[in-house]
């Protein structure tokens, strides 16, 4: 059931329009930030308008303009896209509050640029979520890379420039060098770039070509952080905390994995995946290696943000491994893991920023005993880490449940083992932080005497997202309905 | 023609390059004229003695006028090019006191 409607387009464009307004209100910070909230609320309201229809099984489509014969700048809203868009827009609000709390007291000179780039980034993330074909997705993907570059280099010192350089080189090299040719080959082979249930390839397409294309896409969308194209992610952690949290826990990296989910289900097709063992094998191996390696590296990191970054790389591979399983519950788990991990990780990143602001501590070894000084922050941190590890009653449990189910459905017991090992590793690198913060004696008693909770504008968003970790557990059934609609379109077509 | 082309490309002296250019162009002009030429033919102008009229020309007895017209244009173009080329060479000479390509290059990079 497809229905043409311009709402998806407006949802995408509204925060870009906000960006223009924001850049005009350089001298009136209050109006500037009011615009952001207004845009976020309008966006959210428009998203909510689409919810009943999508749950009814409708697909909202809209074509703005034809770019190439047969391929337009078009949007299509389905369950997974809506869920992803919903998560990014919802989390935009607490992060904005947090950024106000963080940047305003510092009299940061480039706040206006920060907020406008942020809005454009949200626009393009939602654009990726709503893309109806590969070309549209690629366009928004590139806009996202470019618009987040000023955010990564926000501090404009040498370290930031270095991180930013790495960021752009990794992302542009892979997308231009791998994803673009892969896309053109798909277009040349099939004459279409639309995401369709069952894929676009004809039956006689050779397995070798499919496998090569799959690998090109996996690495081409380097935002998904698959090894060895993951190094931009730790490098980009020089960005201010709100950027790391929203972009590198939610928008940017999730856009990467979301693109891969879309391509695997919409271009290759689930049936094709399931019937081509070489294809799933290569996806699973790449993801599995990244999963374990990243978790091990995370364990050895002392810098809190770097540990979080490597943990993100590992968690992204969960999602890709879920797709690689090519079973219904595997894909459901992958799609669900996007929001679940997003809330968890965003809480962790916000907390890392808050810890740094409150105590000046960047390294985990400096964090002994700080829990007593900043209890609220550390409690939020604890909830966030529970969610990422996947323990009830937090959302991460649900998505991991589906993922584990998926391994059994597709008879890949080794993947089951990998998931379990990795979860144990997650626990091993997250839980000690909270434990030491509360119970270990501070190494240097006098150092943190004056430390106290950061401003309320920063604490409240953290608590909000931490509560979110719990809420997604209890509302997981609603979320599954979105995913089910998505599965109905893509996975159950035949 | 080949002489002209060779001296255009291989000679280091700017004036020799210009001369080569002129030779090359003259070669092409002759080539075109030779296309239009015929045995025993006269210039393509109506005269009393040539035994033909405007409406019924004796085609065997005149050379092809088209190539000649084309070459008139080509000569004009060639002269203009040569003029510009020599003027530029003179300017270069004023600057560097030399026509030699290598010397000029040395001067410039100094």
């Amino acid at each position: 059931m497809e229905e043409a409607q311009a709402t998806p387009f407006w949802i995408v464009i509204i925060s870009s329009m906000a960006a223009v307004l924001i850049s005009l209100c350089r001298r009136a910070p209050n109006i500037r930030e009011a615009i952001i909230f207004l845009a976020a609320i309008i966006k959210l309201a428009l998203l909510l308008m689409l919810v009943p229809g999508v749950l009814d099984g409708k697909l909202y489509t809209f074509t703005l303009i034809n770019l190439l014969p047969n391929v337009g700048l078009s949007f299509k809203v389905d369950g997974a896209g809506l869920l992803f868009a919903f998560v990014s827009v919802t989390l935009w609000i607490p992060v904005t509050i947090y950024s106000i709390g963080l940047l305003r007291p510092k009299n940061d000179l480039s706040q206006t640029r920060f907020y406008s780039c942020f809005s454009i980034a949200i626009s393009s993330a939602v654009g990726v979520a709503f893309s109806a074909n590969l070309l549209t997705m690629f366009i928004f993907y590139e806009i996202l890379s470019l618009s987040t570059y000023p955010l990564v280099t926000h501090n404009q010192d040498d370290e930031a420039i270095k991180g930013g350089r790495k960021y752009l080189i990794y992302l542009l090299t892979t997308s231009v060098g791998l994803a673009l040719p892969a896309m053109i080959i798909v277009y040349q082979q099939t004459g279409s770039l639309d995401f369709m249930g069952g894929g676009v390839f004809k039956d006689q397409t050779s397995n070798t070509l499919l496998t090569v294309l799959a690998v090109m896409f996996l690495y081409g969308f380097a935002k998904a952080g698959l090894m060895p194209f993951h190094a931009w992610l730790p490098g980009a952690m020089v960005a201010p905390a709100p950027v790391s949290s929203l972009l590198h826990a939610v928008a940017v990296v999730k856009v990467g994995v979301f693109s891969i989910i879309r391509i695997m289900t919409g271009i290759f097709g689930v049936d094709k995946l399931a019937n081509t063992p070489s294809l799933t094998m290569i996806i699973c191996i790449i993801a599995g290696i990244t999963l374990i390696t990243a978790s091990l590296i995370a364990l050895s990191q002392d810098n809190l943000k770097a540990r979080l970054a490597y943990s993100t790389i590992g968690q992204l591979s969960y999602i890709i491994l879920g797709v690689g399983l090519a079973s219904e519950s595997g894909i459901a788990g992958a799609a669900l893991h996007i929001p679940m991990h997003a809330v968890g990780k965003i809480t962790l990143f916000l907390c890392a920023g808050a810890i740094y602001e409150a105590c000046g501590a960047k390294y985990i070894s400096q964090m002994n005993g700080i829990g007593r000084k900043i209890p609220l922050t550390m409690i939020a941190f604890f909830l966030g880490s529970l969610c990422v590890i996947g323990l009830p009653p937090t959302g991460g449990f649900i998505s991991k449940w589906y993922l584990l189910n998926g391994t059994l459905d597709s008879n890949q017991q080794w993947a089951f083992v990998i998931f379990l090992i990795s979860s144990l590793l997650n626990a091993a690198y997250f839980l000690p932080i909270t434990y030491k913060a509360f119970f270990a004696a501070p190494s240097d008693e006098s150092k943190y005497n004056k430390a106290s909770e950061p401003s309320m504008l920063m604490v409240i968003p953290m608590l909000l997202t931490a509560t979110g970790c719990l809420l997604v557990f209890f509302f997981s059934n609603t979320m599954y309905q979105f995913v089910e609609q998505f599965l109905n379109v893509y996975a159950k077509s035949n | 023609m080949m002489t002209g082309l060779w001296s255009m490309l291989a000679q280091g002296n700017l004036i020799k390059k210009c001369i080569g250019m002129a030779i090359f162009q003259t070669g092409i002009i002759l080539f075109f004229i030779s296309i239009g030429a015929k045995n025993d033919a006269l210039i393509p102008i109506l005269t009393e003695g040539a035994n033909h009229t405007f409406d019924n020309p004796n085609i065997d007895k005149v050379t092809n006028p088209l190539t000649q017209i084309l070459m008139l244009t080509a000569i004009v173009v060639g002269v203009a090019t040569l003029g510009v080329g020599l003027a530029l060479a003179q300017k270069v000479y004023q600057q560097h006191d030399s026509f030699d390509e290598d010397e000029i290059l040395n001067n410039q990079t100094k």
Binding site: I65, N66, L67, L68, P69, G72, L73, L109, F138, I139, E142, L146, Y149, P150, T153, Q156, I161, G164, R165, L168, I169, L172, T173, V176, G177, L180, P181, I184, I185, Y187, Q188 | M1, L5, M8, L9, L14, K17, M21, F24, Q25, I28, F31, F32, I35, T67, L70, T73, A74, V77, A80, T81, V84, G85, L88, A89, K91, V92, Q95, I104, Q108
Partner: protein
């Protein structure tokens, strides 16, 4: 009136040039408005023409100079002007860009060439005449004449730059004349066999009856090599970087986008109309060589641009590599490749024009375009800097700019033909351009000038004058507009301009 539209396009700038030179004796200030109005009339008539073509059934408009015409069994006699979708599109692009460049250059010419404006603008107009003539003519000898008109005026325009520009211009003259002579020689060979110079006549004769003729083949090779020399195709590209770097700002801004592209058009016209695609496909040796050379041209241009420190030189080497795109696309000789090549002529004319205009703006304000000295450019000239970034993004091929779509078609064509080295060259050149963009951003944007770091909120703005800024912005925004309307451009114009090529 409508009937005579095609000739107006060429005549208006020609008259403009002559009048500007004549009136300048007693009213030097008149020359600029005269040239401008000539270009404007030309621009207007090209617009009318393209609408006429869209409305006409055949999609071709003929115009006979001096009342000659179709003489039955002799074919078409006299010089004919032929406008179809292909050159209609390019005519429009040339007239628009030259008009904008004229507006753009008035300020910089006043500064750089004080006292010589009138001659400069007369030559400027003459150059446009030559370029339009190459595009519009339906006669291969006439094409040569216009080629030389354009070339002669461009030698002079470049030599206005003083200093090293004399030598650069001389080298250009030698290379350009060689190219033109080879072209003329080729025309001679073709004439021997066919007895006609009219493109339409030739297109009836050669593909059908003279497929195997050695003479015609030699003519083909000579014409193509001549055109390559004119467009600075590898390995005959040596003259271009110096010539365009040391030329005055305004000459560079006019020559860089148009001169080479028009030669590419001439090559494509010879390939697809005079000789037909079949003919091209049946000479596989040249095809392989041309594709290989294009790949090398792209790589050489890109790598040399990486080693340069002067933004203008970098831009010049970009042209060398972009020429490789177009020649390669044309020689792929399949549907997407040719579409990509023709689309890229338009797109690259706009991109190069934008790039040179931006460089002109920076030169006008700061007096140099050394990459290292551009620090903090964003804070001094924010609009110019944003235009520079958009242009670079288009050159890299970031969607939704036009550079992306031309690359899309070219890669698709190369994939269809199985020419993987061309795909690789395209991608590598994109990446190299990306590296240069990073460098520009890092220097111009992230190296904040001192007042900003000390908490001083007012960083002195020093934006280019409005008469330079507006043309720059129009061209820059057109890069995005072209990208968005790719589909219209391809299906409504370019697809109709090209002969049907069956997919293999």
């Amino acid at each position: 009136m409508i009937k005579h539209l095609p000739i107006f396009i060429v005549l208006a700038p020609l008259l403009g040039a002559v009048l500007a030179a004549l009136t300048s004796w007693y009213r030097p200030k008149l020359s600029f408005p005269i040239v401008l109005s000539g270009l404007f009339i030309s621009c207007l008539s090209s617009f009318c023409l393209i609408f006429n073509i869209l409305n006409s059934e055949s999609g071709v408009i003929h115009y006979q100079l001096g009342g000659w015409g179709d003489k039955g069994e002799y074919g078409i006699v006299g010089i004919q002007i032929t406008v179809d979708y292909l050159n209609g599109l390019i005519l429009t692009a040339v007239t628009i860009i030259s008009l904008l460049t004229a507006i753009f250059s008035s300020q910089s010419v006043n500064r750089e060439l004080a006292g010589q404006q009138r001659y400069f603008f007369a030559l400027f107009s003459l150059l446009v005449t030559g370029l339009l003539g190459i595009t519009i003519t339906g006669d291969i000898f006439n094409l040569y004449v216009f080629m030389e008109i354009a070339a002669l005026s461009s030698y002079a325009l470049i030599a206005y730059g003083k200093g090293r520009s004399y030598m650069a211009s001389f080298n250009y003259l030698i290379m350009g004349t060689m190219g033109a002579c080879l072209y003329l020689l080729g025309v001679g060979f073709v004439f021997v066999k066919t007895g006609t110079l009219n493109i339409e006549n030739l297109s009836l004769l050669i593909p059908q009856t003279l497929q195997t003729s050695q003479t015609v083949f030699v003519g083909f090779v000579l014409i193509i090599v001549g055109a390559w020399a004119k467009m600075a195709f590898f390995p005959m590209h040596g003259w271009l970087p110096n010539a365009y770097t040391y030329a005055p700002t305004a000459s560079g801004a006019l020559l860089a986008p148009l001169a080479t592209k028009v030669s590419v058009y001439a090559m494509i016209r010879i390939m697809i109309t005079v000789y037909s695609i079949d003919y091209v496909l049946k000479s596989p040796n040249i095809q392989t060589a041309a594709l290989l050379l294009s790949s090398i041209a792209i790589l050489v241009g890109s790598f040399f641009s990486l080693t340069q420190t002067n933004l203008r030189k970098i831009a010049c080497y970009f042209i060398v590599s972009e020429i490789g795109y177009m020649v390669g696309g044309a020689w792929l000789a399949n549907d997407p490749g040719l579409k990509g090549a023709v689309y890229h002529i338009i797109a690259d004319a706009a991109m190069t024009s934008a790039l040179f205009m931006v460089i002109g703006c920076i030169l006008f304000r700061t007096g140099q375009v050394e990459l290292k000295k551009l620090d903090g450019l964003f804070y001094k000239m924010p609009i110019t800097f944003i235009a520079l970034v958009i242009t670079m993004a288009a050159l890299i091929g970031v969607p939704p700019t036009c550079g992306f779509f031309s690359k899309f078609y070219l890669i698709q064509g190369a994939a269809q033909a199985g020419t993987w080295h061309f795909v690789g060259a395209l991608l590598i050149s994109s990446l190299i351009k990306a590296v240069i963009l990073f460098r520009i951003i890092e220097i111009g944007y992230n190296k904040v000038p001192n007042p900003a770091k000390e908490g001083n909120k007012t960083i002195p703005r020093d934006e280019a004058p409005i008469s330079m800024l507006i043309p720059t912005l129009i061209v820059t925004l057109s890069l995005i507009a072209l990208g968005i309307f790719t589909d219209t451009l391809i299906t409504d114009f370019i697809a109709k301009a090209l002969p049907e090529i069956p997919a293999p």
